[in-house]
Symmetry: C2
């Protein structure tokens, strides 16, 4: 909102924390910023039919060798079923393969394909542009501080998340 209550009422300091106004609620601001990121990402990468989570999945696969769906979902920080949805869509597009493991026939090993690697290389600059635009309003010092604070929040609250990262 560059409007109404915010401009008049925002005191620079919020001391009470009664969260009566939406824009004083951290969760609300984070949801808005998340929406904004999704919007920016779609603007840059939508033409390539790539979403932030799809990009994260492919990025993780690019680095390591194949892994099962649960490990992959967890390393991206999403629930196993949400991950399965994304992985299935990427498989349909030929960007990765899902092959039953020989060792453990319950597990399906996910691997990025050559097409997947090519695709990722092609869209990387657009992905980076979306990230750049998101933090463009901050100067260098503010960016460092923002990264520090958000990392602190994510790390400390990680256990509270419904899909905690790094627990595999």
């Amino acid at each position: 909102m560059e409007n109404t209550s915010k401009k008049t009422a925002r005191p620079g300091k919020v001391k009470s924390r009664t969260y009566e106004e939406l824009w004083t609620r951290p969760g609300y601001l984070i949801r808005r910023l998340h929406q904004i990121h999704v919007g920016l990402f779609a603007e840059e990468c939508g033409g390539a039919d790539l979403t932030p989570v799809q990009s994260a999945i492919l990025t993780v696969l690019q680095g390591g060798e194949g892994m099962d769906q649960l490990t992959l979902s967890t390393s991206v920080g999403i629930d196993r079923t949400s991950g399965a949805d994304v992985i299935r869509r990427l498989e349909r597009r030929g960007l990765l393969t899902r092959i039953s493991s020989e060792q453990d026939r319950r597990a399906k090993i996910v691997k990025i394909t050559v097409e997947g690697r090519t695709f990722l290389k092609r869209v990387r600059p657009r992905m980076a542009r979306a990230q750049d635009r998101l933090i463009a309003p901050l100067d260098d010092e503010e960016r460092e501080e923002f990264f520090r604070l958000i990392n602190k929040l994510v790390d400390a609250n990680n256990k509270a998340s419904r899909a905690p990262m790094g627990t595999v």
Copy 2:
């Protein structure tokens, strides 16, 4: 991740901005923090069957008089169709009413009910607890700075969002 690459590689300063690692992508961190907030909110308010967006809708209605669905959705910062979904669900639960306007028969005027007000009063402490827990890892000074930075990002990027706020 209090794991793998982050601990070893995180240099305190990220200068290159190549976004090769997930945790160096602002969009990724914001998505994680958003998930965490949703998780915390569900933990506190899930028993009352209340989501963050539902809470935002009811909060806006509580303050003013009735308004049409688009104005309501916009003031919460979501798309009109997403808003319509949420509003329909809240109507089904009797927490608000949707009545066709006399002045403009295209519009449906949304008003909070007495049950809605009672409900909101009852869950307010739990909502506040979710917000408190989210920013608990930060000290007072860090909180002020976090609010300042995230407000700056939201304000500056608002236009880029798919559902810009305050444009009504």
